[in-house]
């Protein structure tokens, strides 16, 4: 399994959305190292180096997690809770990237500790622009709290 360190962990079950997201990042040269998982449990296993990711170094964390809310096995809010409950990932940047415009989802996400909440637009140009903004900000502009093992 992929044990390479990543800049972005993308948790997204919809392959089309994932494809569009990765394409948008690539178009803007931001897709250096993307790890894509398709359910909540996989996202947790990757971050804590468990299951198929047990070979991974758990200290090697991504710069940002792009988290969909509607995920199989563990949903996005559950994944976010587990991330915030663990001292190792307590301050890991997590951007909620979702189709949900529900106010309750938005409020709950921030309460659990999301760093940002972005609604995916239907229009591709707008979607692409949003992904670019997120990638630019979290990968290049933001000074991450944890510097991974990578020099």
């Amino acid at each position: 399994m992929n044990t390479e360190p990543a800049d972005i962990l993308l948790a997204e079950d919809n392959p089309n959305d994932a494809l569009l997201t990765i394409r948008s990042l690539k178009q803007h040269n931001l897709a250096n190292a993307i790890v894509h998982v398709t359910d909540g449990q996989a996202a947790i296993d990757y971050l804590f180096a468990k299951g198929v990711y047990s070979e991974r170094d758990p200290l090697d964390l991504p710069k940002v997690v792009l988290l969909d809310l509607k995920l199989p096995k563990l949903n996005g809010l559950e994944v976010l809770s587990l991330i915030r409950d663990d001292p190792r990932t307590k301050i890991l940047p997590v951007v909620v990237l979702t189709s949900s415009q529900e106010e309750s989802d938005l409020i709950e996400s921030y309460q659990i500790g999301a760093n940002s909440y972005i609604v995916k637009p239907v229009e591709f140009e707008k979607f692409s622009a949003a992904i670019y903004q997120v990638g630019l900000y979290w990968l290049l502009l933001n000074k991450p709290p944890i510097s991974g093992k990578k020099p």
Binding site: N14, D17, L20, T98, S100, Q101, E103, K120
Partner: protein, 729 residues
């Protein structure tokens, strides 16, 4: 004293006469007993009567018994065999005790020798003399006695004795002798006089003290009506000195002299008056109410000297009486008032009870009498009895058989606890045998000792109420079910909306995104028609995205709380207009904005109303060279504000006005005017959530006007604009 002396003198004379007659009779008796006489004739009651030996004993006995003198017969050894009443009275002992006693016991020690002489008298001898009797109370009574010996054939001699009380005679004799020896014993008499005067003075002084000590005014009045003497109390009550009072006419000191004189006359006529009411006037004008008691007084010869009168001050008593009268009057008045108030209150209660169809009953436990008022009879469908009286069993026989036991138990509880109870039970009404439901209240009334004597209560036929209540309960239950169903529907709708927002948008995003990828990655292979077709796909996908967004907004509105915040409607309308027309190249849009009063509501929602209405106005005037939009307010019913947005746009046919506010309902094609058909539905939903109204008017190709109201929640329940709890909260 002198008057008494007179009668005593008379009695003394009588005594002497009797003694003479006795001596005569004794001689005659002696003669008879000694056989000298056989019978004698004595004058009686104007005739003569013959007394024989036989009848003499009885007559003598009566005579002896009637005598004022004492008489006794004793045996030779001194045992008293007979005595009359007078001797007993002189000895101050009952006759029974005298007879059978020894005579020497009754004679003073210094006279015992004299007694012995008498006992030793020879038959036929007679002896007179003075003898001191010794009475039971220890005093000695001076007497004059005659005594002799009776000779009885075959029996021992007996001593007879007749005794006259001399105690008063001696006094008299003393005086007589004093008169006789006046000249001879001047010094002695002066001494005696002195002693007498002293005694008299002492007596007078004693009397005087008594009179003065009296708190009641005492006065003696002469026969002529002048005051002869007064006491200190009289001085106090009249305010005049003793010297001023004595010698004046008594009647002038009363408020009514005539009444005083007539009272005085009555004393003379009747000898006395008792509780004669008069008022004494003090020198300072103060009046004292008094009651007089008066009687005559006489001199030694019995001549009337004047009247002696005592007065009793009854001012305090009169005042107390007056106060009591006043109090009684007040009390009576209060009782009258309270009685009236009670009557009024009872009448009110009766009217209220009558109006409410409440029947009253009263159960007297002692007699087991039950009384009903007319309404009770009408509730039970019974003809009223004349005095309202019914039997307890008349009631129980009308109570539903299943309810009787419980009702009787409840009544018993009321009686035993001297308490009150509320009950509901069924009765079977008389004429139609209908089962009616009765609500009853009762209360026990306690008498002396705290035990219940009465139970009073009311009955109310609540059958209709009960039925209505049942109906209401049924309706409520079905409403509850319906509400629960609706709640479930809303939840389902929420879940649906959630799905829509996630699951429908993702494919659209994919359609749009992949169309874009085809455009980008396969551009050289596409001709113009191919690119146009891909553009259509992308446009429709994006339109569906907007539809979904609008629909979500619309459904979310149903769950949003409506607030009541003051909103500056004029500013809001202007800003919305400016935002909407900021990017409209080539358009000339004229706004006529009138002053608009503020409204109370949820700001974001009301903004959405303005956005949709003004947005429509801008959109539907798009084909005009000059778009004219007018925003303002007109007064509506009951002073409410009616906001309006008017345009000179495409308008609409009023025949389709009913479709204006339906979701996805459109009156224009998408080609004419693009839109989702959700805007006005959203407006209506918001306005309705604010309890307002919204309606539109239009004419094809002329324009449209949309009205809406947002009622002020503070005014919702009243006409006037008083501050409510909302404004102070």
């Amino acid at each position: 004293m002198i008057a008494q002396d007179t009668s005593e003198a008379e009695r003394l004379a009588e005594n002497r006469e009797l003694r003479a007659r006795l001596a005569e009779a004794e001689q005659e008796l002696d003669a008879i007993r000694s056989g000298g006489v056989d019978a004698l004739v004595v004058p009686v009651n104007g005739g003569r009567r013959l007394f024989t030996l036989k009848g003499a004993d009885h007559a003598y006995r009566i005579l002896i018994e009637a005598m004022q003198q004492g008489a006794l017969i004793a045996s030779a050894d001194g045992l008293i065999l007979y005595g009359n009443r007078s001797i007993a009275s002189m000895l101050n002992a009952p006759l029974e005790k005298v007879i059978g006693s020894v005579i020497s016991d009754w004679i003073a020690p210094q006279n015992q020798a004299f007694l012995n002489e008498l006992l030793r008298l020879h038959p036929g001898d007679k002896h007179d003399g003075e003898l001191l009797l010794a009475t039971t109370d220890g005093t000695q009574v001076p007497t004059f006695i005659s005594a002799g010996k009776l000779v009885l054939s075959g029996e021992p001699d007996q001593l007879w004795m007749v005794v006259s009380d001399l105690s008063e005679v001696i006094e008299r004799r003393k005086k007589e002798s004093a008169t006789l020896v006046q000249g001879l014993a001047k010094e002695a008499q002066a001494d005696a006089d002195k002693k007498l005067t002293a005694a008299a003075r002492q007596s007078a002084s004693y009397m005087r003290s008594l009179i003065e000590a009296s708190l009641d005014p005492l006065v003696t009045v002469s026969a002529e009506g002048t005051i002869t003497d007064v006491n200190e109390a009289s001085v106090q009550v009249t305010g005049r000195t003793r010297e001023e009072l004595i010698g004046t006419d008594f009647s002038v000191y009363f408020t009514d002299p005539e009444a005083a004189r007539s009272g005085y006359k009555r004393v003379f006529a009747e000898g006395f008056v008792q509780d004669y009411p008069l008022s004494i006037r003090h020198a300072n004008g103060h009046v004292t109410e008094v009651l007089y008691n008066a009687s005559l007084y006489r001199d030694e010869e019995g001549r009337v000297q004047g009247a002696f009168a005592t007065a009793r001050d009854i001012t305090a008593r009169k005042r107390a009486e007056a106060e009591i009268l006043e109090l009684n009057a007040k009390l009576e008045k209060r009782v009258e008032e309270r009685t009236k108030a009670l009557a009024a209150s009872q009448e009110r209660l009766r009217l209220a009870a009558e109006a409410a169809d409440i029947g009253f009953w009263d159960w007297d436990l002692a007699s087991n009498n039950v009384r009903w008022d007319k309404l009770m009879f009408s509730i039970y469908g019974m003809p009223p009895s004349d005095d309202g009286r019914i039997l307890y069993t008349d009631w129980t026989s009308h109570v539903h058989p299943d309810d009787v036991a419980d009702q009787e138990a409840s009544l018993l509880d009321t009686v035993e606890k001297v308490g009150r109870n509320q009950r509901e039970f069924r009765i079977i009404r008389d004429p139609d045998h209908a089962i009616r439901i009765i609500r009853a209240s009762d209360a026990a009334i306690s008498g002396v000792g705290g035990k219940a004597t009465h139970v009073v209560g009311i009955n109310l036929d609540v059958t209709e109420t009960f039925e209505r209540l049942k109906e209401i309960r049924k309706l409520n239950a079905s409403l509850k079910n319906r509400a629960a169903e609706l709640e479930t529907s809303v939840k389902e709708l929420d879940a649906f909306s959630y799905s829509v927002s996630h699951d429908l948008r993702a494919p659209l995003r994919a359609i749009d995104g992949f169309s874009r990828i085809v455009e980008e990655d396969y551009a050289p292979k596409l001709d113009d028609e191919g690119r146009r077709l891909i553009g259509v796909i992308r446009g429709e996908a994006q339109r569906m995205g907007r539809l979904i967004d609008d629909l979500l907004t619309f459904s979310r509105l149903g769950r949003q709380q409506v607030e009541s915040v003051r909103i500056d409607m004029e500013t809001m309308a202007r800003k919305v207009f400016e935002e909407l027309t900021a990017v409209q190249p080539g358009r000339v849009i004229h706004l006529d904005l009138h002053p608009i009063p503020p409204a109370f509501g949820t700001e974001a929602m009301i903004r959405q109303v303005w956005i949709n209405l003004i947005g429509n106005a801008v959109k539907f005037t798009g084909k005009r060279k000059l778009s004219e939009i007018e925003i303002g307010v007109t007064p509506g019913e009951a002073g409410e504000q009616v906001y309006f947005v008017k345009d000179n746009g495409a308008g609409f046919d009023m025949r389709h006005a009913d479709k204006l506010f339906g979701v996805f309902q459109r009156l224009h094609t998408n080609e004419e005017f693009p839109g989702t058909g959700v805007g006005l539905a959203l407006v209506q939903r918001i306005v309705h959530r604010h309890c307002g109204r919204v309606w539109g008017e239009g004419e094809p190709d002329k324009g449209a006007i949309f009205h809406f109201t947002i009622p002020d929640p503070g005014k919702a329940s009243g006409e006037n604009n008083q501050p409510t709890t909302i404004s102070t909260a």
